[in-house]
Symmetry: D2
Subunit: 440 residues, 4 copies
């Protein structure tokens, strides 16, 4: 097949795929599931890929059980699994997925020698209650979250659609391709929990080219693309538990050991960790639950915390400061302190080669308006574990950013993006794959 | 009937009732229900009283809907009602009780002119997870809580048993009695929510003698009784909600309005309200829930708080201080503040007449070892609304304390009492009722 | 001398003394000196007593050096001593007083066998800046503090005047008296520092009757007197120092160990120590100084704290809580913590005999309108060390309260009292002394 | 004079000047004075410049009274002035300098047409107590601070020496120079207070070339120089006062309005202002003084605060957050709040021309080992007011950094630098001045 023809065929393929991309995105938006509980999500993805004859690895085949962090409580898992069964996920799937073994890996082997290219898409939602407002597109168009309290507020619903689109594209253009393709549909990206267990199962060990990316991040126009990303913040996700002693708050308050006040104190102290001259740092106490009733001195308190740093050293600084403060807070109130690391992301760097590659590809496309050589992420992404693995073995990795206007920021309860970004993302990555076939 | 014979008959009656009292207590202990959700509890009490031909008032007949405070969320009510149905509470009961209309009033009219005597028993449990330890009697004997996370940790299970025992006693000795009897099985004492709606329905309007009381409080020996109680702390129960703005904690933390830190700050500030030279005060932040996820700036926070004071003025001082601090905290973080009073108890005084009465009764009993004229409560009890109503109309009221050793304090997850206190409480109140028939 | 005549003579004596009492009070008010630096004050008292032939003990003769707590820094002492020299205190006095050996003990021996009666007056001022307002009597009448930043804001200027008045009275009526008299002009009452070193020098060892007292406390009318006082709060006075590491706040804030934030945290935590069901407790962080400059992370912080309790156990509870919190705060910020007890007062009880005695004396007086058997202090007074010493040896002790209206509370910068209380206090104590001569 | 000869003469001149530079530096190190109180410092500088026939502007001639911020309290000024008089500053100087009119401007006019070159040196010390340790050079060599509690801990003693050295150099090479020279010896750089009042007096209005700089900052080797500096942090210096109500902490704590706790709360809240995704921010509460005595509820509290931002907008964000929090804290405690801006620095940029210039000059020197085109400051410097003024009128400005190893960071109580940096700084600036004569 000649390049000129292929280029035309891609335009045609993308054009035909567009309504399907929107349809997928809206379907997943309606059924958001949070990390390690993407049972229905994984099943829907699997069914789609099976119909295209991809070879699938699910459950412990996809990821290493022990490397998973931040697994939800048993009861929550059970409830989600029950819901998935009611939603129609068949027993043979549930057996593999049960206990938080979500996500999957799909492989396509052209049978011809060539590069091993890996693509990664994250699939989890967030514990955010979606806004009910008719100005919010999912509400207006009737595809808002049906799982109360959970929401695709970071665009991973779009990422799944892009991944499925690319799976179709690889199959469609299989005769023009050589080498092997690995598509990783990663669970539990939020909290930095799902990448490492996939890496540990060896999927990235011999990858030559690695592509992942994100829609949005910055509020750009449709057609803007960043070829690489920097400012991946290293991050530690920490759960803290204080255990004190209950007492009647009126009759003998002095007998209590107040775990609620320990949480409150730790929250304010952590928020006050000094800025660092070495670069960007972050701290957030995202969730706090303490106490059982109004007239009881709280004997239990629990916090979900994260630290971040522009590099691993800065995150370590934040972590060490937090650790000292949390233990001192326990001593302050005479309560027992437990501190557990439940997620982790490292820093990361994209390879410069991708700037030239994306610029080349952009020159072939009618839809890509502007290529930024690099844009900052300013957040954490455990994709860095995959990128570093590929790079350590001599491969090249990048993390693209696909521009779309954002009415509200990521993780906002009215987050939404312009769905026109979906076909553009498929086109950019698709054209990159084809470009890589012949790259000199 | 001669007094000597009656005295002997009471001993005999109490002796025969004892195993039944223990059996009732253990049954209710196994099925604890928290305030406004005592559906099964109310039904069991009702069935027992119906079998004795008491005239019952249930639902809106028993209490005034609008006067209720601190009603649980709709969803919690629904879940409890569903559970009650599964537990066998029939539809005709559920219709009356639904929506948090628990508790009941039982009446017995001797048909003979005489005093109107009212007895009050509180029936609600606490949101405490019962300890699972074989040294804990309910575990050892297999009657621990079957409602996970809820527990009769204040002895109200015993109070119900005492109330049922007294209902039997009144029926048994009906020929020796004159006047009328009203037995109030009050819901939602914890949080100071259930007494006022019963008062407002008029049950206490023409009461001559009012008796309530509590087992335990102080760790006394079996056989010790306090004829009156002082130090009823006035109390305000307050729910506070902060509403801020969510934002991605890594990408743009400055966009958030942090409701979790508002909760933490308010907690520490409230805890620091200055002591008052006028007397005892208390503050407790018993419950705090804020935030939805680790990497999101929390946009929601909620606290359950109570203030107390040795008298109404001191509670008002605490309330005013808390109010100012809570609103200033909202301003501190630029979040919206909502403050709702969900319960209230006033101060109270027992009438001195009861000291002589209880001493008289004690002299007739083999089981009462020691009468304290007065003991301090040091806590809040919305029974004070009933007492004050009775006293305002010229009646006399008291609140007895029945001694029992306590291994752990009230509201402790291993709270327990010595069941020998049950027959003693029935005997003291029963003999008081009979004594009041002939009092000069 | 007959009793009737004596009673008349006392009236006459007091009447003549009144303008002198006011004059003394105003002189001392103009020259307030804080604890252990009452150099000029002691000298003025000494001169007055020497002129009456009292036998004086000054310096280490009056108090035991090692038992003193909370001695000001060397430099402050030096400055005060220099000022005293400039004010005319001669070298022979300064030699004895130097280094914080202020206060004195004056003895009068009638040479006749009889009781040993001790009277105690505290002489120190407070580090409060007196208000400059013409509505404030000392300003209006031109006798406001000449020592900037220091003020007699607790009425000890009045106590000195009363003490000198009684010294005159004892001398004047010496022929009607028998036994011995010891007048203790105690330094450093504020902070609970001066009583114990006097006790340790043996002055109270064989005392039969001990009288001290306070003007004001409650806002009563002139002529009201309390025969005894209760609610002496036990108290611990604590200095806390945090030592961290300075760093440039802009260039490398992470290098600092912030002693200022340690002080802030400790302050809020201490303020939040739980109330105790056992009775009244108090905590106050009265002074905080931290940091050296705006753009430097503070490496030094210092706090002056006090705890109180209705009895020694409750103060110990507060002290223990404070200790744990202070050390945990040091750990929180990685700073060195030093905690030093610089003052202490124990609880105390007055002997009931004094109620009858004061009532008797009141019946002889035209000026005493009302005798309260007992009034609460609600504060700390190290006079309790003296009282307990006397009581342990079989003597009787009381602490009188002399009513006066108070426009502003004690320790307020516009504190003032009605000077008519001065002759009444002299009369009450003077008549008590005379009454004790003949008591059966 | 030929360039070759001149280059040689400079080497010779610098060599001869070196011991004098060290001697000046040590003299000023011994007599550190903090901002607006550099009376002796200014006098010493003036005497030296007068002896070289510079034309001096002192007092209100040098700076605009009203534009000064953060003037110390009257009493502190008076004490410093008294000390200066004792130290020998004659009345004609004191008259001009009194009331915080320190610093001076020295002018040299060659009489030949040419550029107007301005040099700026800051002269103030810090309120830091110098360490007494024989490993610390000033102690070892006996030139440690003689003003207890004050210290040249930022190297401005070195800056003064460099300024005097350059004054000598200009005079020495006057025949090779044309145009005019203005040397600004600026007071009160710490706190960002002294630059603007000099700018407002017009000294920078027609300046063509502006040079200032700093020794140290980064721990570099002797001989390293940065031609320009970036990351000037915009900064606001704020004094906060809380005024509450005093009360006796034992007797009636509820009557107090606690200004000390307001300071503590504000400190912790300010420290917790959220990081900003837009770039570097800083906050420091550098000094806190509250309360008057241990047993008094504190009615006064005072804090010295600074905010910083990588640019003016980020500093404004910090300032606005701080403002809201400080006022909310006042409301929290019911105390009056006063917030006063006492210093300000803006962001700033050096002109790129200087990189080429310094590299040129370095090529002529034996001592300059390495030229960094740019190094970050990471701190605030009110020199930015001068730079911006010059640049707005078309002039060029830079801020050099002169490398020296630092055992301890700036503002550390054992801060010191390697004195070999002094002749290098004189040489770099001196050669720049000569280079600018002929620049094409």
């Amino acid at each position: 097949m000649k390049t000129g023809q292929l280029r035309y065929d891609i335009d045609e393929f993308i054009k035909n795929l567009t309504s399907q991309l929107v349809s997928w995105r809206r379907k997943f938006h309606q059924y958001p599931e949070i990390g390690w509980m993407e049972y229905v999500t994984t099943y829907y993805i699997a069914k789609e890929l099976e119909s295209m004859d991809y070879k699938l690895a699910i459950g412990t085949d996809a990821l290493m059980t022990k490397q998973r962090m931040g697994i939800p409580k048993q009861q929550l898992l059970k409830e989600s699994e029950e819901r998935a069964r009611r939603k129609g996920v068949p027993p043979n799937y549930m057996t593999k997925l049960a206990g938080g073994h979500t996500g999957l890996v799909a492989q396509w082997d052209t049978g011809r020698p060539g590069k091993h290219i890996a693509l990664r898409f994250d699939i989890d939602a967030l514990p955010i209650e979606e806004v009910y407002d008719h100005a919010h597109l999912p509400v207006k168009e009737g595809f808002q979250s049906q799982n109360q309290g959970w929401m695709h507020a970071c665009g991973h619903d779009g990422h799944i659609a892009i991944g499925l689109g690319l799976a179709h594209m690889i199959k469609h253009f299989q005769d023009s391709l050589s080498g092997r393709f690995t598509l990783l549909f990663q669970p539990a990206e939020e909290g930095g929990r799902g990448a490492l267990p996939m890496v540990k199962n060896g999927w990235l060990d011999d990858v030559d080219e690695f592509i992942s990316g994100h829609i949005g991040i910055h509020s750009l126009s449709i057609g803007e693309v960043a070829a690489t990303t920097n400012q991946f913040l290293a991050s530690s996700k920490i759960n803290v538990t204080f255990k004190g002693r209950a007492a009647h708050a009126g009759v003998e308050p002095e007998k209590g050991q107040n775990a609620l006040l320990a949480c409150a104190t730790a929250s304010l102290q952590l928020q006050g960790i000094s800025r660092h001259s070495g670069g960007t740092t972050r701290i957030n106490i995202g969730k706090l639950e303490a106490g059982s009733g109004r007239n009881i001195i709280a004997d239990q308190g629990r916090m979900e915390i994260e630290t971040r740093g522009e590099n691993d050293e800065l995150d370590q600084y934040m972590f060490n400061e937090a650790k000292r403060m949390i233990h001192a807070t326990g001593d302050m109130y005479g309560v027992q302190t437990k501190m557990e690391v439940v997620g982790h992301a490292i820093d990361g760097t994209c390879d410069n080669e991708w700037v030239k590659r994306v610029e080349k590809v952009a020159s072939q496309s009618k839809c890509i308006k502007n290529v930024h050589p690099v844009l900052p992420l300013g957040a954490s992404e455990d994709v860095t574990y995959m990128m570093k693995k590929v790079q350590n073995n001599g491969g090249k990795a990048t993390y693209l950013i696909f521009g779309t206007p954002l009415v509200n920021g990521h993780h906002h309860q009215a987050f939404d993006f312009d769905e026109r970004v979906l076909p553009i993302a498929v086109e950019v990555i698709g054209r990159l794959i084809i470009y890589l076939q012949d790259e000199k």
